[in-house]
């Protein structure tokens, strides 16, 4: 394979890895319920914000840098929490934000573990949450030309109605990363109820 083909294979692999990681971890986070990935959300147009809040983590290693974001509206999560526990009607936005920051943290953690399994040590930031117009990394379209960075976004549908995930990945080298795949990693034992 030539270098471009290697890079393209890495991109495709990483794209799948990130998407899969989000689905698996979201399902686990939302009480093992079924979560479906919508690859190209039909009701979304480029340039539109995906939701009011963004929870994100930054993952870095020698090979690449990933900004991983979860876009959500607190009301959706509040509604979901109410179905779980009636007393959760009084949850503040801050609590819901922390809840979703933890989700992004777990999704990032899952990616780290996959890389670790391939002897690539990856660092991860604390999750941050922001809102407003700050779609700083809203580069959802793949760049043309040499593929050294790419963006992606998708929708997860589940008991929480729908949230969006997006990522912005910069490949820092030309190593073949297509072999990095999630092994049959079982969902983490011991369900965590953040709230």
């Amino acid at each position: 394979m030539d270098a471009d083909a290697v890079t393209q294979a890495s991109v495709d692999s990483l794209r799948k890895l990130l998407r899969d990681a989000s689905v698996v971890q979201a399902s686990q986070y939302f009480d093992g319920q079924n979560v479906t990935l919508i690859s190209d959300p039909p009701d979304h147009q480029l340039g539109q914000v995906l939701a009011r809040y963004i929870a994100m983590v930054l993952l870095t290693c020698e090979e690449l840098r990933i900004v991983f974001k979860v876009h959500f509206n607190p009301e959706q999560i509040r509604a979901y929490r109410q179905t779980k526990r009636a007393s959760d009607t009084d949850l503040t936005d801050k609590q819901l934000v922390d809840f979703m920051k933890e989700l992004s943290n777990q999704m990032g953690g899952r990616v780290c573990r996959i890389f670790d399994a391939h002897q690539i040590s990856m660092g991860m930031s604390v999750p941050l949450c922001t809102r407003g117009i700050y779609e700083i990394y809203a580069d959802y379209q793949a760049k043309t030309g040499a593929v050294t960075k790419f963006g992606d976004f998708w929708r997860l549908e589940g008991p929480f109605d729908g949230i969006y995930c997006s990522c912005y990945v910069e490949l820092l080298g030309k190593n073949d990363l297509s072999n990095i795949k999630a092994e049959d990693e079982e969902a983490q034992e011991g369900e965590l109820d953040f709230l």
């Binding site: 939701a51 949450c129 809203a138």
Partner: protein, 468 residues
């Protein structure tokens, strides 16, 4: 260990930044102005609570709305023009201000006037493109206040208008201007010409005043202040029209400053027709009063002697008698004078000489009596005095009568043509008693006068307490 510390520190800083970001977002959420951020396609990518309240949506549903859909097609074109201008990289403007109505979400919702400030935020991501933020302030309250103020302005009975530096009317702030100046069209007219038409007699004052306005235009405000008093000369002006239309106005002129120099003038026209007419009625009433007083004076005052006539005597002396009976007056004397040999004066020197004698005697009587005494020319050469007295000595009337007699006897009278004449008078004095009337008193005084005449004239005959 060191790396761990650095990591912790970094996490801490990030956490603080996150809090700061959230704090800023909260401020944006709560500002009373409408705040939105629009992407390249004018879709809302950030909205605050004021916007959501205005549109009637949640923070979530506000996202993705087409902001321009809330404007009428005409206003939308204006808005898009501004957007296009700001998104043009070749253009250096970074913001624009525009007043546009926000049409709202339904036909039931009335359009609201808004003042918008539009800012170019630039491009952060390719997908969002050139991002624009807008801050809008609802002017409805301001407009309502303005309308209220204008309706007050329009309805007050005061003419308010603005003149340019040349004295032309540029703004009519109250409808009453048209009524006062009796003119349907005022804008562009010269106020000087309008006022001069009805007040040609005040041409000089008007010309001076409007020359002053032209002269002060563009000058510093203190310059006008120093000469403002000169405008006071046109205190009231008349406005005439067909069918007997007549109004009186009082103009007041105040400069409108711009950079501390006189730019224009605010004119207040006060309708003083009512007060002017009332003043005229008062003056008329005063004149009538004076005329009536003069007529009355003629009726009660003898022009020759300057003393009262019998018309006045009846009432006034009757009142004194009544007062004396109530013991308010200790003593009331009635003195009746008669000039001695007056007929021969007339016959010898003529009636003119007789008149001079009457006049001179009147002067002597007035000089010898007080304001409280009543002096009357009773007939031809007969005079009556009513002398109220509260002093302790008795027969004050007799004293006064004798004083007058003596004074006349000692005073030579110029009867004209270089001739001087000495004249004497006789008098009878009667004192008011409990059952007296004017007639009885006069009758008794006349009786004593007769005695005085009979006893040789130039003397005073006084009633004694025994009535002799």
């Amino acid at each position: 260990m060191s790396n761990n510390n650095e990591l912790q520190a970094s996490h801490r800083v990030l956490s603080m930044l996150e809090s700061a970001c959230e704090y800023n977002e909260q401020i944006l959420d709560d500002i009373p102005s409408v705040f939105v951020v629009l992407n390249q396609h004018n879709r809302v990518i950030r909205a605050n609570k004021a916007f959501c309240d205005l549109v009637g949506c949640t923070m979530e549903t506000a996202l993705h709305l087409d902001f321009t859909a809330f404007f009428t097609s005409e206003n939308r074109d204006i808005l898009l023009h501004h957007f296009s201008h700001l998104r043009d990289d070749s253009n250096r403007d970074t913001n624009a201000r525009v007043k546009l109505e926000f049409a709202g979400t339904s036909e039931d919702q009335p359009a609201k006037p808004f003042f918008w400030r539009i800012f170019r935020l630039g491009s952060v991501s390719e997908a969002e493109g050139q991002v624009i933020s807008m801050v809008g302030d609802d002017l409805s309250g301001l407009y309502q206040s303005e309308l209220k103020l204008m309706s007050i302005f329009s309805s007050i009975p005061l003419g308010l208008m603005v003149l340019d530096s040349q004295g032309r009317i540029t703004e009519v702030l109250s409808e009453y201007c048209h009524v006062l100046l009796n003119q349907r069209t005022l804008i562009g007219e010269s106020l000087y010409s309008i006022l001069l038409r009805s007040n040609p007699d005040q041409e000089r004052e008007l010309t001076d005043a409007f020359d002053l306005l032209r002269e002060c235009a563009g000058q510093f405000m203190p310059h006008f202040g120093a000469r403002e008093a000169e405008l006071g000369r046109i205190s009231q002006l008349k406005i005439e029209g067909p069918s007997g239309f007549e109004k009186w106005i009082k103009p007041r002129i105040q400069p409108i400053a711009k950079n501390n120099t006189v730019d224009r003038y605010m004119v207040t026209l006060e309708d003083i027709t009512a007060s002017f007419l009332a003043q005229r009625q008062i003056e008329k009433a005063d004149l009538l009063g004076k005329q009536a007083q003069a007529l009355y004076e003629c009726a009660i005052r003898d022009p020759l002697s300057g003393l009262y006539t019998r018309l006045f005597m009846n009432d006034s002396i009757s009142r004194l008698i009544a007062s004396a009976k109530r013991d308010n007056i200790r003593e009331l004397a009635i003195v009746m004078f008669d000039l001695d040999n007056f007929k021969s004066v007339n016959d010898t020197y003529g009636h003119d000489a007789g008149d001079r004698v009457i006049k001179a005697f009147g002067n002597i009587i007035r000089a010898c009596t007080r304001d409280t005494d009543i002096s009357v020319r009773y007939g031809g050469e007969e005079f009556v005095l009513a002398l109220p007295c509260n002093e302790t000595h008795e027969q004050g009337g007799a004293i006064v009568a004798d004083r007058i007699r003596a004074k006349l006897a000692d005073t030579p009278i110029d009867i004209g043509k270089g001739q001087m004449l000495r004249v004497t008078t006789s008098s009878g004095v009667a004192y008011c008693q409990k059952n007296d009337t004017l007639e009885t008193l006069l009758h008794r005084a006349d009786k004593y006068l007769y005695v005085a005449k009979h006893n040789g004239k130039n003397r005073v005959c006084v009633e004694t307490s025994e009535g002799e």
